[in-house]
Structure formats: structure tokens, C-alpha cells
Symmetry: C2
DNA sequence: TGACGAAATTGGAACGTTCCAATTATGAAA
DNA sequence: TTTCATAATTGGAACGTTCCAATTTCGTCA
């Protein structure tokens, strides 16, 4: 019932040319005469030919496939990132394998191996917690370009695209200080990650810069999730000397902090200033709209994909470390009525 | 610098056997002697061999690849769906191409064609708006199993996995009626989609069942997004005879409706009952927690993947239409303090 | 008409695997 | 020792493309 696969040979036969000519047409070579090209294309349509990329990949030992592995696709930050990658990858005629590791290092090992077997030309990786440089070594050795996003790995000789967490955190805390806040907390996130480290350092440096004390007690870790935000703010409000504002590890935590505040009959924005990190899509439409450090996940995905494609085209992967610029988007959750208007006009 | 690819022949040579034997080992055949198997495996490790699936696919004319195409990955419903698919697909030793169409039918055509060229064994599709049965015909003709999720397509002879939108909407409206609401609106969604149609019919049927009038004016369409929810509720509140409750097209709309209510100084839950649809991950943690019809996107992705794999294994794709069961999760946004406790205990 | 360079076309050998049919090794029974 | 079934192993032909070197076709000019 299902017809045999039609191959270049079939269409060569139908068009009265050789398979080599058909191959030339397929590749859009300028060597072939217009008339023949038309004949061949007609045959392709008539016979319902579908190109077999496996065969082509085998022969040319290269593919139009890239892989993207993320640690948590349910986090909309990474979903957006994937969308950004997808857009440029598709336009370049590539297609992407996507795998979700759920922070499982074993899963990550498996999917990376599998992608390698499938002959991906490059890989974009947001590594799971605890990934070592040695995990990426086989890739590097075989010359497959890798771009790390979001999280960097010490000692890995691959490109990376990390947002400027330190500068972003500083900007946020400076803003809170300008508004007169004296006790500012840093809430949420796992303390043993590089991202936490960078954001927290930015927080601390801004305090020091302003000659304010950086109290240990005001830094409270938690899971980087909405639920984590709730517990972190609860803990913060138990303190003898309560904070009046907080920079949160990310937007998810910030939303949780808002929930926790409401549970205590405090209105985020009015009674307590909250700033997030990432600028996920919901940040703008939430109530109150979240003041946050914008890292534009989709744009980040695009840049990562562009970098990767560049390296694939170049053949050699010259490691490149890009820190993505970042900007503070002032909305309502830090009490910024004025700034909000300004943003609306922009 | 980069060594030549090592092939079965190299390792056959190193292990002192023939390439056929190596191939047998690779496939875990029981035909090969334990001692030789060990020798071969040692050689594989020593030489750092990596299996070339392109070659295998070519020879066997089948692959361990499936494709998943979704219409909007930025919507966390679909991101969750993808995660569910990913989980079962990975466990089965498959890998997935993922593409985002952004509701662009042209994009969808391209990615489906591309996936076909890459030899996917099956496809899970959440079709873009306006997809026709004929768009899938080439796939069907060539015997590639397709599973439609979320949205069905009339006349397409493929399997589908749709949640029971009608029953879910009825359950939600019945609940509102039991709580004494008399004027219940249906807010949001594009009226020309099958999903809208089904949910709206469920809404209407529940009203009729209770002997209540189903006023046209109370059905207000909009984009199925948070912003759309805001405009829909604004329109609803302009009505002479205002509703006191609403079933929303999906959770995103419901969140928007809550925003719109707050803008009018109405507290969702207390002053106006809101019910969503989908049970996205934020529904539980939002304030107030959203009462919604749970469709468990991740579970749906899993079931879709299982169905697809079953069909791939069977060789023949017997179209199967599954309607996924659905349940009302009562939280706070419809004023259900009591039920909320019950859920917390569960 | 013949010669010649450019344009267009072509056959066959790869790419790395799997599969088939055929061969060889092994061990038990006669 | 021979015989035979069974267990292991093997060479070579595919799979559908691309690439290379070689060939044919063509138009132009002497």
C-alpha cells in the first residue's frame, strides 16, 4: 500500500537525466541548465519526492541539526529562551533537538550523548546544576561547537552567553536605596550556584558603595520558585529588624514574595518594595506590575543561536564569552508610579 | 587535529573481529559470545567510538526520532505539554525535534516538511489556527503516524487527544450555579476555534440544564491571553445587567479578568467569581488561587507520546480519538474557602 | 570545416551502518 | 574418527545521497 520511497534515481529516470544532475538541482547549483532544472523540478513534484537528509548527512558528514538542552522547560524563562533559539535556527534552515533535563545530570549526559550520535552540528546548553567541565570535554574534543547559556562552567573551553548578573543586581539595589530604603533583603535562590553568587555579590556591592551595612541575616536562600519566594519572605518577616524592600533571585521568587506579603496583609509596592530578576513575560501584566531586571530571554536565545551558527559556519569554535547587557525595568512593585508612566510612553 | 571519525571497521580491527560482529554487539544481539562482546566493548571505549545514527537510519530506513510541533511555546500550557512528551520520548530512547509555529501556518508547513526530510518516525502536532486536513495528508499517505493534541482537525484521518472541553465547562458552570450565581459570563477566546466552541457549548448546556437563560451578551470573545481577559471583563462590566461570575476560556484569560476586576476595585473571589481552564502551573500559587478546570498538560503530553510510540511500534497507525478526562479544581477565585482546605489536605 | 574553451552532464566510488546468506568453529553423539 | 546440529562469525551487497574526475555538448572563432 505504501509506495516505495522515491529516490533521486527515480526522478532522474523520470526527467531523463542522471542522478548527478538531480543532485545538482537539489543543491541549487548554477551549473545546471534552466530547461533541465525545470524538468527535474517537475518530476520532483509529480513523484512526490522527499529528500532524505540522513543519506546526505552520511555522505557529507555534517548535518543541519543543532541541539538545545535546558535544565527546566517548565520555567517560562527557559521556554522563552527556546523560542528565541527556535526562531533563528529555523530561519537558517536548521532544525533543533530539544531536551529537558529537569536538573538531572544523568539525563543530561544521556541526551548529550544521544544528540552526538545523531550528528548535531552544535549544541546550546543551559547546564544542570553540578555540571563539570569534563562533561563537555568529549564534545569539545570532537570539534562540536557548544554555547553555554545562563550558567557558566568553570574551566570549560566553550563559548558562553551569560547575562550581567552583577551589574543588574547593583542597579536594582541602587534604585531601592535612592527611594530611601534602609533595610534591603536578598531573597531566594540556591546559594551554591554561580548565578546566585553573582547576583548576591551585586546586591552586596551596591550596599557597600552606599556605605550601608550588608547584614548576613538579610540574605535568605530558597528554591528558585514561587513557593520558595513565599517561604523566604516569611522567614524575612520573622526578623527582629524587618526589611522594607527586597531584591529577589528571579521573577518566580518575586511573585512568591508578593503572595507571602499579601498573606500578611501587606501590599507589594505600597508597603514593601519588591524587585525581581529576568523579566519573564508575566512580569509586565502581573498586579502589581513587577519591577525587574530585564534579561530578555528570547533575545538571549537568539543571540546564542546566532553565535552557535557562526561557529558552525566557521568550522572552528573559538571560545567566546559574552555577557549580555541587562537593564532595570521599573514598574509598580517597588512603588514606582512615576517610572511606570515613563515606560508606557517609551 | 581532530581525528578522523572512528567507525565500526576501526573497532573491528582493534578487537580482531569483523565489522558484522561489532554491529551485532552494538545491537545487543544474543548471538555473540560473551568473550568477544567484552573485547569489542573494550575497543569501543578505548577508541572513543560514537555510533552514527545517520548511517543506521539510512540502512534501516527508520529512525528513533519523533517531531513535536506546537503553536505557542511561550504559553506555559504548551511548554508543560512538551515536557510531558519529552519525558516519555527520552525514556523510550527516542529524541525529539521541537518546533514552534507561533500560529503561523506557513511556518508549520515548513517545519513539518523539514521533519519529514529528517525521517521522523512520528509527529505530535498542536496545529496552528486554520490548519486543514489536507496539510497533514502527505504525512498520512506516507504512513507516518500523527497525533493531534489540544485541537482537532475535521476530516484528518489521524489520532487525536483532546481534553473534554464540554464536560469541563459544564462542571464549572454547575459549580457556579450551586453557589447561587444567576448571571454568569463566558469570557475570552477566539470564537472561530473548535476549542472555544466546545467550551462555550458546555457553558450554555449547563445553563439550560438549570433552566436559566443563556444570554448572548454574556458571551464575550477576546484574544486567549491575559491582555484579552482584561478587555473582556471590561466589556462585561459595561453591561446593564452585570454578571457576578465568569467562566474564562483559559487560565491566561482568567488572570487577566482578575487584573481587570482589581482595576475596578473588585476583589476576585470575594466580589466576583472567576473560573479558568487548563490548570497551568501558576494557577495554584496565584493570589487568589485560581479555581480552574484541570487538564494536566504534562500528563496530556505523556499520553500523546505513549500513543504515538504505540503506533510507531505497531507499524500501522489506526486513528484513535481520545478525549482526556478533566476535573474541576476548586480553589479561592470562586469564593471557595472550604474547598480550598479540602484540596490542601489531599 | 576544425579547433577550442566553456557549459552542462555523467558514471562510479564513497559515507557508516545493517542485513543476508554463507562459512567456520564447537561440542556431543555415534 | 566421523557426523551433525548448533553456536559464532563473516564478507559483501545494500540504503540514498554527494563528490570527483571525466566526458559530452555547445557556441564561437579562425
Amino acid at each position: 500500500m505504501v509506495k516505495d520511497r522515491v529516490t533521486v534515481i527515480d526522478i532522474a529516470h523520470a526527467a531523463g537525466v542522471s542522478k548527478s544532475t538531480v543532485s545538482l538541482v537539489l543543491q541549487g547549483s548554477s551549473l545546471v541548465n534552466e530547461a533541465t532544472r525545470a524538468k527535474v523540478n517537475a518530476a520532483i513534484r509529480d513523484l512526490g519526492y522527499v529528500y532524505n537528509r540522513s543519506a546526505a548527512n552520511l555522505r557529507q558528514s555534517k548535518s543541519k541539526i543543532i541541539g538545545i538542552v535546558v535544565n527546566d522547560l517548565t520555567n517560562s524563562f527557559f521556554a522563552e529562551l527556546a523560542v528565541g533559539v527556535d526562531a533563528v535556527v529555523q530561519s537558517a534552515g536548521f532544525v533543533q533537538f530539544l531536551a529537558n533535563t529537569g536538573e538531572k545530570i544523568e539525563r543530561q549526559r544521556e541526551v548529550v550523548a544521544s544528540m552526538r550520535e545523531h550528528g548535531v552540528s552544535g549544541l546550546i546548553v543551559s547546564p544542570a546544576r553540578g555540571t563539570e567541565a569534563s562533561d563537555l570535554a568529549p564534545l569539545v574534543d570532537s570539534g562540536i561547537p557548544v554555547v553555554l547559556v545562563v550558567r557558566d562552567i568553570a574551566g570549560a573551553e566553550v563559548s558562553s552567553l551569560i547575562s550581567d548578573n552583577h551589574a543588574g543586581a547593583m542597579a536594582a539595589v541602587r534604585h531601592l536605596i535612592e527611594r530611601g530604603h534602609q533595610r534591603i533583603a536578598f531573597l531566594g535562590g540556591f546559594p551554591d550556584t554561580a548565578v546566585f553568587e553573582a547576583r548576591m555579590r551585586g546586591y552586596r556591592d551596591a550596599l557597600i558603595e552606599a556605605g550601608m551595612p550588608a547584614a548576613e541575616a538579610l540574605v535568605i536562600g530558597s528554591a528558585p520558585s514561587r513557593a520558595g519566594g513565599v517561604t523566604a519572605v516569611e522567614q524575612a518577616m520573622m526578623l527582629g529588624d524587618r526589611p522594607t524592600a527586597a531584591l529577589c533571585f528571579n521573577d518566580a521568587v518575586a511573585f512568591g514574595v508578593c503572595d507571602g506579603l499579601r498573606a500578611r496583609r501587606l501590599e507589594p509596592g505600597a508597603d514593601f518594595a519588591v524587585i525581581g530578576f529576568d523579566d519573564v513575560i508575566e512580569a509586565k501584566t502581573a498586579v502589581p506590575a513587577l519591577t525587574t531586571v530585564s534579561v530578555d530571554p528570547q533575545g538571549m536565545g537568539q543571540r546564542a543561536a546566532e553565535l552557535l551558527l557562526k561557529q558552525i559556519k566557521a568550522g572552528k569554535a573559538e571560545p567566546e564569552a559574552i555577557v549580555g547587557s541587562v537593564r532595570l525595568v521599573v514598574r509598580q512593585s517597588c512603588g514606582g508610579q512615576l517610572e511606570r508612566k515613563r515606560e508606557a510612553l517609551a
